[in-house]
């Protein structure tokens, strides 16, 4: 599931980019406390690398949360003070049998 808040050119392509970033790291794995640190680092690294390849004049913030499925609730919200015509964000939610993953990218225009 994806959500966009946009003026930025990062837009629709970012959603699938993030999705594939998550899938390539977490796809087929069960939640593991020993590996989760490595997974989140790999997801943000992969997503950021793909975003840089788009070659747009943006600064990026990529955040990733991975939570084990135990029935507990998690709420995430963001609020931004920026130029709504140029800057934007994209959030992707992914899950499998044992964990949830939420990745957000915020793209802030440079000049």
């Amino acid at each position: 599931m994806e959500e966009y808040q946009n003026g930025s050119e990062v837009g629709v392509g970012a959603g699938s980019l993030l999705w594939f970033g998550i899938e390539s790291v977490l796809g087929g794995d069960d939640y593991s406390q020993t590996h989760v640190n490595k997974w989140t680092a790999a997801i943000v690294e992969r997503c950021l690398t793909q975003l840089v390849k788009i070659n747009k004049p943006y600064k990026y913030i990529v955040t990733c949360s991975v939570m084990q499925k135990t029935g507990a609730g998690l709420h995430t919200a963001n609020s931004c003070y920026w130029d709504t015509s140029m800057d934007g964000s994209c959030t992707v939610r992914w899950e499998n049998r044992t964990m949830y993953c939420v990745v957000s990218v915020f793209a802030v225009c440079i000049a």
Binding site: K59, Q68, Y81, V108
Partner: protein, 155 residues
């Protein structure tokens, strides 16, 4: 928004008497009035006037989160509203500082404590000289909260 361009004219006077080499830089003022250079765009090539107030924002996060969540039990509906409220409140308090040329992104997570594992990571492509972040985490007997504020300098 105004751009003020200051133009300096440097005149290098070289040469001199035979055998002697003098290099002398003289400043001569522009030959037209400076006010004619003012136009309607802003461009600041140097560093920000004021640094991002990390300590103050850290205090704000701590104060707001503790004040609002100290004795609160986790509830799905209230927690959802609380994340949005916290985001708005933090953004409003930050606007009071009039931090010029900084764009801000505020991220708040509130979750239930149920013995689950959770990892939150972030990575940024930015200018580390001017851009920064502040983070604060809170926990009580039934919930946890993590708030992060990113400050991005607008060049």
């Amino acid at each position: 928004m105004f751009r003020i361009i200051t133009v300096h004219f440097w005149v290098l006077q070289g040469g001199g008497r035979g055998g002697e080499k003098k290099n002398k830089a003289n400043y001569s003022p522009p030959s037209f009035p400076l006010h004619s250079l003012k136009s309607d765009l802003t461009l600041r090539l140097t560093r920000p006037n004021k640094p991002f107030p990390i300590t103050t924002i850290s205090h704000i996060l701590k104060e707001e989160i503790t004040h609002r969540l100290r004795d609160v039990r986790y509830d799905p509906v209230r927690s959802r509203e609380m994340t949005l409220t916290l985001c708005e409140v933090i953004r409003t308090r930050m606007k009071e500082f009039m931090i010029s040329r900084y764009k801000t992104v505020i991220l708040v997570h509130i979750g239930q404590l149920n013995g689950q594992g959770l990892q939150i990571s972030s990575r940024c492509l930015w200018d580390p000289n001017f851009d920064t972040f502040v983070s604060h985490s809170f926990k009580n007997t039934s919930l946890f909260c993590s708030a992060t504020v990113y400050g991005i300098y607008f060049e």
